[in-house]
């Protein structure tokens, strides 16, 4: 009772919970899952854009793309480290991912069919991710919040790069403009789905939201974040000159926000359930890399142990020599 009060006091005072602090098991478990799935999303998220590294249309774009995908690996590493402060290790978490017991953001089950998809991902997907992540910078759990601060810094850079890819395409040849518009047509709605189900009505979540908000893990509702996203993207779309594929999109003078069309939640559910274009491929690719690399990791471990053992022998012998 005394330890739990401490946790609740910290939460009430909007203070950070650190690894050494006591915390309810349910809080710890929720965070492990959320941070792990966030990490998984970063590393799975390397694949859609990674597919264009060897095919980028210029050396400058190739360099930017390698750096971006590399950043995503780094984000994955920060987040796995943050999760490790909660008593799990990366290997366990990866096993959960590989076995489908933990998930990753469903947005990455969509394919990158053209170069313009790299632009759309940066602009829309990173844009939505930022919208979801900025509030997490004030998350109650210290390691997660600090990881998020680092991630958000880099991700805003990524979002600008995505915008810039599309900007260049829209000022290019008719074929390039068509490529950009086609990518926007395919990524817009999935990006909106990144904010999760509506907060009320039949698609409402099952109470998790309320608990996460109480624990300072979640700061804003799904629909709030989604609305902000739409309002911001509409402006950017205008500047780009791309058409947002929503005939019901319109400015609501009264709310000072945009109304937008109904999301096809059946698609969302289907993709979540495994039926997106790339679900099988993303996990298969991940597992293959992991399995192919097992002997390498084992070797590194074996070598480190041998090295340690040798050092210990050296040390022992030095002591013996000194003693005599």
């Amino acid at each position: 009772a005394e330890r739990e009060a401490s946790f609740e006091e910290l939460i009430a005072a909007d203070q950070r919970i650190e690894p050494r602090d006591a915390m309810p098991e349910a809080y710890r478990r929720t965070l492990v899952r959320q941070i792990a799935q966030h990490a998984h999303s970063e590393i799975i998220g390397m694949q859609p854009e990674g597919a264009w590294i060897t095919r980028a249309p210029s050396l400058r774009r190739k360099a930017i793309l390698v750096a971006k995908v590399q950043d995503e690996a780094g984000h994955g590493m920060y987040l796995y480290s943050a999760a490790e402060t909660l008593g799990v290790d990366r290997g366990e978490l990866l096993e959960m991912l590989h076995e489908g017991k933990q998930k990753y953001s469903s947005i990455f089950n969509y394919p990158t069919l053209t170069w313009a998809d790299c632009g759309a991902i940066g602009w829309l997907v990173d844009g939505a991710a930022i919208m979801n992540q900025v509030p997490l910078c004030r998350c109650s759990y210290g390691p997660y919040a600090r990881a998020m601060i680092r991630v958000c810094k880099e991700e805003s850079f990524h979002q600008r790069q995505g915008f810039e890819i599309l900007w260049t395409l829209m000022r290019g040849t008719p074929a390039q403009q068509q490529m950009a518009q086609d990518a926007v047509d395919r990524w817009w709605w999935p990006a909106l789905m990144m904010f999760g189900p509506h907060d009320s009505g039949e698609a409402a979540s099952n109470g998790h939201t309320a608990q996460s908000m109480a624990w300072g893990i979640k700061r804003f509702s799904n629909d709030d974040l989604r609305q902000r996203f739409v309002d911001m993207m509409v402006q950017q779309a205008d500047r780009l000159g791309v058409r947002i594929p929503d005939p019901d999109l319109r400015w609501d003078e009264e709310r000072q926000q945009h109304d937008f069309g109904a999301i096809d939640w059946s698609e969302f559910k289907a993709v979540l359930a495994g039926d997106g274009a790339c679900n099988a491929e993303r996990i298969a690719h991940r597992r293959r890399a992991h399995d192919d690399g097992a002997w390498v990791r084992e070797a590194a471990l074996a070598h480190a142990r041998k090295h340690e053992a040798r050092q210990q022998v050296q040390q022992d012998q030095q002591e013996v020599v000194r003693a005599s």
């Binding site: 590294i53 690996a73 690719h285 002997w295 084992e298 070797a299 471990l301």
Partner: protein
């Protein structure tokens, strides 16, 4: 295309730099394939670093080649618009990815050799600048490769076997790194670094030290050795590499990206 400078044309130095640029470009392309495929995230990051460093070296050298050969070509003219017969890289860098040991064997030979060359400096100002920066980068590349070769050579039985097999597979590609081709011989001594043949002794000694410390042996290659990459004679994988790398750019001639 950049505008013509008043740099006097120097086709011999241009051709020499082109080989060095193409080595970096093609190897950067191969290394880029490791992202999402590496044994662990730390390696996705490390190999991405090596790829970016080499890509940067290529991007710094290509415009200089364009100045010296009088064409004024830019980095993408070189990377996207030359056909296979005009590429001057060695065969080692165009080979498809193998397993992680194959990559560490390739990285060890490539970066140790390039570091040795870059350490000597050169008179061409652009090359000198690339070399000065590159020496630091290549130092990391060599260390990274050496550390892994040792870990794998002195890790498990399986990793030792694989690392030795990788060294065997890369062996036929090593001689070409130390071959004095007509391109390098055409450059006045003052304007170039050491000849490839002059690098061999030190490089082999450094590689041998790494291998020895890990209980690995440096195999003698058999009858067949890769050659003539500097003359634009490449192996089958080069065709696939260029098709993948250049397809999009060539599909939209004149477009800006």
């Amino acid at each position: 295309m950049t505008s013509r400078t008043t740099t006097p044309a120097d086709p011999a130095t241009a051709a020499y730099l082109l080989g060095l640029a193409d080595d970096a470009m093609v190897y950067a392309q191969r290394l880029g394939e490791w992202l999402t495929n590496a044994p662990q995230l730390e390696e996705d990051m490390a190999l991405a670093n090596v790829s970016l460093d080499l890509l940067g070296q290529a991007r710094a050298l290509y415009p200089r080649v364009g100045e010296l050969d009088g064409t004024g070509r830019g980095e993408d003219d070189f990377a996207m618009w030359r056909d296979e017969r005009d590429w001057r890289n060695v065969h080692l860098v165009e080979q498809p990815r193998g397993d992680f040991a194959d990559e560490m064997a390739r990285l060890l030979w490539f970066s140790t050799t390039r570091l040795e060359l870059f350490s000597a400096g050169a008179s061409d100002p652009v090359l000198a600048g690339v070399m000065a920066k590159g020496v630091k980068e290549l130092g990391y590349h060599v260390d990274h490769a050496a550390q892994w070769v040792v870990r794998l050579g002195d890790g498990t039985d399986e990793s030792h076997r694989r690392m030795q097999a990788a060294l065997d597979r890369v062996a036929p590609y090593v001689d070409e790194l130390f071959t004095d081709d007509e391109t390098v011989l055409a450059v006045p001594e003052a304007d170039r670094g050491p000849l490839p043949s002059q690098l061999r002794e030190h490089v082999v000694r450094r590689v041998d030290r790494v291998l020895h410390s890990a209980g690995l042996t440096r195999p003698e290659p058999g009858a067949w050795r890769a050659k003539d990459g500097r003359r634009g004679i490449h192996s089958r994988p080069m065709g696939s590499l260029l098709a993948e790398m250049q397809y999009l750019a060539r599909s939209h001639p004149g477009a800006t990206w």
